[in-house]
């Protein structure tokens, strides 16, 4: 074991951890909106709309994240017309391609989590709201959504951790996140064990923090 290398690679890896956290937070931010939108579409009474939402989540949950990133990063640039539109400013950057792929992916999982949360809300809560004369819109925003969010916290916590691990794939499209930097250091020092263990330690620490944060939130917003 080369402990001096482990010590000297730590600052570089920690710097890269910021990239990982940025990728994670931006993907989760967009992913929540996508997830909420598709959860609502999925519960729609129109079977075409609900089937469309189901198809979206089926495709994104049934294929590896790596394929999704590659299609968006390598595939979309191939369409001539696409390169002339204003969207090309976003899609030519690997950074935004990674975030779009991550957001679409986590959005699919989030929509499943929220859908099941909406479906398990006790009908009594909504009926109580109705009998108090609260309008449907306010019941949705002030009663259904908060209860659904509380209900889905444990599952969403898992999803955050899965997404954090997923951000390591950004290194395959040239981004320098923790995995990317670790691989770069290994390619110059030929000491895979030390560097990858360090990188793994940082990821584990982040998992630990997220896990405890979610536990704290669950306790804070518990019904009891």
């Amino acid at each position: 074991m080369d402990f001096t290398l482990m010590a000297s690679s730590l600052p570089k890896l920690l710097g890269a951890a910021i990239v990982t956290l940025k990728l994670l937070s931006l993907s989760l931010f967009f992913g929540i909106f996508i997830g909420l939108l598709f959860a609502i579409l999925r519960l729609s009474k129109n079977s075409l709309v609900s089937k469309f939402a189901y198809g979206y989540s089926y495709i994104f949950r049934g294929t590896p994240l790596l394929v999704q990133i590659f299609i968006i990063y390598y595939g979309l640039g191939q369409i001539e017309y696409f390169r002339t539109t204003f969207l090309w400013v976003i899609f030519k950057e690997p950074y935004w391609c990674a975030i779009i792929a991550f957001a679409l992916n986590t959005g699919a999982y989030t929509s499943e989590i929220l859908r099941s949360a909406f479906q398990t809300i006790k009908p009594g809560i909504i009926e109580a709201g109705k009998s108090l004369g609260i309008s449907n819109k306010i019941i949705f925003y002030k009663i259904q959504i908060p209860v659904a969010i509380r209900q889905s916290l444990p599952a969403y916590g898992n999803e955050i951790i899965l997404m954090m691990k997923g951000t390591s794939l950004a290194s395959t499209v040239t981004l320098m996140d923790i995995t990317g930097v670790a691989k770069h250091i290994v390619s110059t020092t030929y000491k895979p064990l030390e560097v990858f263990l360090m990188a793994g330690g940082i990821y584990l620490f982040m998992t630990f923090i997220i896990h405890n944060l979610i536990k704290y939130l669950e306790k804070k917003y518990s019904f009891q």
Binding site: Y58, I59, G62, T63, P64, L65, L66, V67, Q68, F70, I71, Y74, G75, L76, Q78, I79, I161, M164, K165, G166, T167, S168, L169, S171, T172, T179, A182, K183, V186, P192, L193, F196, L197, A199, G200, Y203, L204, T207, F208
Partner: protein, 230 residues
């Protein structure tokens, strides 16, 4: 479409063999995962704190670290570690491990951590009376496990194991970084030489969807079979 045809001009046959490779790696990894689960589930359920600690470290570390990193560690660190062990026994030649074996073991260890959790949950949710009844009837320990606990456990575990299978199947796409020619790697090669990444990566996505769809059909049948009488 001509690019996807079979034969010398198309990539159809290459992609077909790559799909078989993906299936082979997934099944091998899943079996290696079961092997790890077989070791770690009893440790998790044991009353010994130290054994618990070992099993919990395994599942926590593996589930908290990116799969890609585990694969890199095995691929770049694996042959070094084996050469180190070999040097203790007086063998100093260069040893290169096969990409199929490294990949399957790396994915297998990941899948094993998930399987361990599934088996632990399934065994814990079996009624305690079942264990006690078997004991009272004087049934031997191993018969108790294979004839009484296992059939009930499988019924509870299969739906969750099907999730583990899906995760494992999708994780095999990451082995492409080691150069093993499975669906992802083959698409990468084809995309590179034809300059048509959109077609080949989309086709790869379709292949994965087909695999997940077919495996769900098979697993649903198993589920029906094992929940007979409930």
């Amino acid at each position: 479409m001509e690019l996807l045809s079979f034969g010398k001009t198309g990539w159809g046959d290459e992609l077909f063999y790559a799909t078989l490779m993906t299936i082979a790696v997934s099944i091998t990894a899943m079996l290696i995962g079961f092997f790890f689960a077989l070791i770690f589930t009893p440790l998790k359920l044991s009353n010994n704190k130290f054994l618990n600690f070992i099993a919990n470290s395994y599942t926590t570390v593996i589930r908290g670290v990116p799969e890609l990193l585990v694969i890199y560690l095995f691929f770049f660190g694996g042959s070094g570690a084996i050469m180190y062990v070999a040097s203790i026994f007086g063998y100093f030649e260069y040893i290169e491990i096969n990409a199929f074996i490294t990949g399957s073991v790396a994915i297998g260890i990941i899948s094993g951590a998930y399987s361990t959790e599934v088996f632990r949950g399934a065994i814990q949710s079996i009624d305690k009376g079942q264990f006690e009844a078997a004991k009272v009837l004087g049934i031997k320990k191993h018969i108790q496990f294979f004839k009484i606990i296992m059939p009930q456990m499988l019924r509870l575990a299969i739906p969750n194991l099907s999730n583990v299978w899906q995760i494992t199947l999708k994780d095999t796409s990451l082995i492409s970084v080691t150069g093993l020619v499975e669906i992802m790697r083959q698409s990468y090669i084809a995309a590179g030489s034809t300059r048509d990444p959109l077609l080949f990566y989309s086709f790869a996505a379709v292949l994965y969807l087909m695999l997940t769809f077919l495996s769900m059909k098979i697993i649903n049948r198993l589920e029906v079979k094992y929940s007979r009488g409930f």
